[in-house]
């Protein structure tokens, strides 16, 4: 084997990832070739240097917040819904991503800036009811303060959304899920009934909402939050419209 060929194998050799003929050929070669032996030592030094670096120490505050965010696995019906509607999500996500590239409010550090923003929904179906999915008592999940304007075939909701959780365009979604007439969330929600609205702070967004003409006229609940928080929800109508806590 040529020196050139041997050298191309040296990294794998020092990692113990060579076997059989290649391993024997390298071992034999470097026993007699000083240049290749030196190259082996040099690569080994790089490997050792990397391994000898001091581990960076994360900020204790960050570690505490990491634990307090405590995402929970999504129930299967929601994963299914997510998969079914991913085609609808895709273009909006693209837009949100580009938004994320230009806004300074992003990520863990964005969360610290406590930005709030108004979300405007328009063109909605019958009564729109804000039904936050937030499970009380879990960090990062707070009820929305909302105002409902109009009703019937058109309406508008303005909601103040506190940036309590990590804001990242990739994991902030607002989705519309149908409620049955008694105000309970239909599980599983049928994607045909609900068209999805995605909004992301900090910019108010006007989104269109459609319902299937054949569907039983649903109550509609826009849910706002990172996907991981869209699991437990409050759907008790007695608390509406402001879900005061």
């Amino acid at each position: 084997m040529s020196c050139r060929r041997i050298r191309s194998l040296l990294s794998a050799y020092i990692d113990g990832e060579l076997t059989g003929y290649d391993m024997l050929a390298v071992r034999e070669h470097i026993a007699t070739c000083c240049d290749c032996q030196e190259e082996r030592e040099s690569l080994l030094t790089v490997k050792r240097l990397l391994g000898s670096m001091c581990d960076p120490v994360p900020d204790p505050t960050f570690v505490r917040q990491l634990a307090s965010h405590r995402p929970v696995a999504e129930p299967e019906w929601l994963v299914d819904l997510y998969n079914v509607t991913s085609t609808i999500f895709a273009p909006v996500r693209g837009a949100l991503r580009s938004l994320g590239e230009t806004t300074p409010v992003s990520g863990f550090h964005g969360m610290r800036t406590a930005a709030t923003s108004a979300v405007v929904l328009a063109g909605a179906g019958a009564f729109l009811v804000l039904a936050p999915l937030y499970k009380p008592g879990v960090a990062g999940q707070q009820p929305l303060e909302s105002s409902v304007f109009g009703g019937g075939r058109s309406g508008r909701i303005e909601a103040q959304i506190p940036a309590q959780f990590k804001y990242n365009p990739a994991n902030v979604q607002l989705m519309v899920v149908p409620l049955s007439m008694n105000g309970q969330v239909a599980i599983p929600p049928t994607p045909d009934v609900a068209r999805h609205i995605f909004l992301a702070p900090p910019q108010p967004v006007v989104a269109k909402f459609e319902t299937d003409a054949n569907a039983e006229m649903p109550q509609v609940a826009p849910y706002y939050g990172p996907p991981s928080s869209m699991i437990e929800y409050t759907s008790d109508r007695s608390n509406s419209p402001d879900f005061g806590h």
């Binding site: 690569l43 030094t45 960050f62 990491l66 863990f108």
Partner: protein
């Protein structure tokens, strides 16, 4: 050497507990157990604490969000590596803080820089090395920043996290040959950069 390599079974059991046990309590345990590894990788990939925090948090959010897709025979940490690998592809591509290079392009290693050898003594044999270590760490991190994302992650997983080629190929969805090639070229590129930084330092001091 991190604990990840030796804890295959334990990692899988941890994940199983999240599924079946008390989710909240176990999540805290998983965060406590794996955040250092995740943070280490994230820091080496991004080169700064702020981005490392974002990536670490995002990795854990994704891990639990997609827990339904998790293969139970995989150790949790390897699965986390896989998520982080995907994250880097998604995220770092969007905000190229460091020079990014396509795999299809030839690497620019400078004139015959591959022939430059690093001459650094073993730390244990040289007390000066300890004093220098912080400075050297900075040089290594700067050199890492120069690597294309795919190369950097391969080097980090292999030489800092101690994963095998097979584990890396699974985490990064690539062949063993690709791992081998990226690692070899990555180390050579790192070597040339570290040497260049060291030389700069020396010439600065001599002025």
């Amino acid at each position: 050497m991190p604990e990840g390599v030796g804890t295959l079974t334990r990692g899988a059991i941890d994940a199983h507990n999240v599924r079946t046990g008390e989710k909240t309590a176990t999540f805290d345990e998983l965060v406590n157990k794996y955040h250092k590894q995740a943070y280490n990788i994230a820091y080496r990939m991004t080169g700064n604490h702020a981005d490392a925090e974002d990536l670490t948090q995002e990795a854990f959010v994704r891990a639990f969000r997609f827990f339904g897709n998790y293969r139970r025979d995989w150790p949790f940490d390897n699965w986390l590596y896989k998520i982080m690998s995907n994250l880097f592809v998604d995220d770092l591509r969007r905000r190229p803080k460091v020079r990014s290079q396509s795999l299809d392009q030839p690497l620019e290693t400078g004139n015959k820089s591959d022939e430059v050898y690093l001459d650094i003594a073993d730390a244990s044999a040289n007390p000066e090395r300890v004093v220098m270590s912080r400075e050297l760490d900075d040089h290594i991190q700067r050199a890492l920043n120069f690597l294309p994302n795919d190369f950097r992650l391969t080097v980090v997983l292999a030489d800092i996290e101690g994963l095998s080629y097979e584990e890396i190929s699974e985490a990064m969805h690539c062949s063993l040959g690709t791992v081998r090639s990226r690692l070899h070229r990555g180390r050579k590129l790192l070597r040339s950069k570290i040497v260049a930084f060291e030389n700069d330092q020396i010439s600065l001091r001599s002025k």
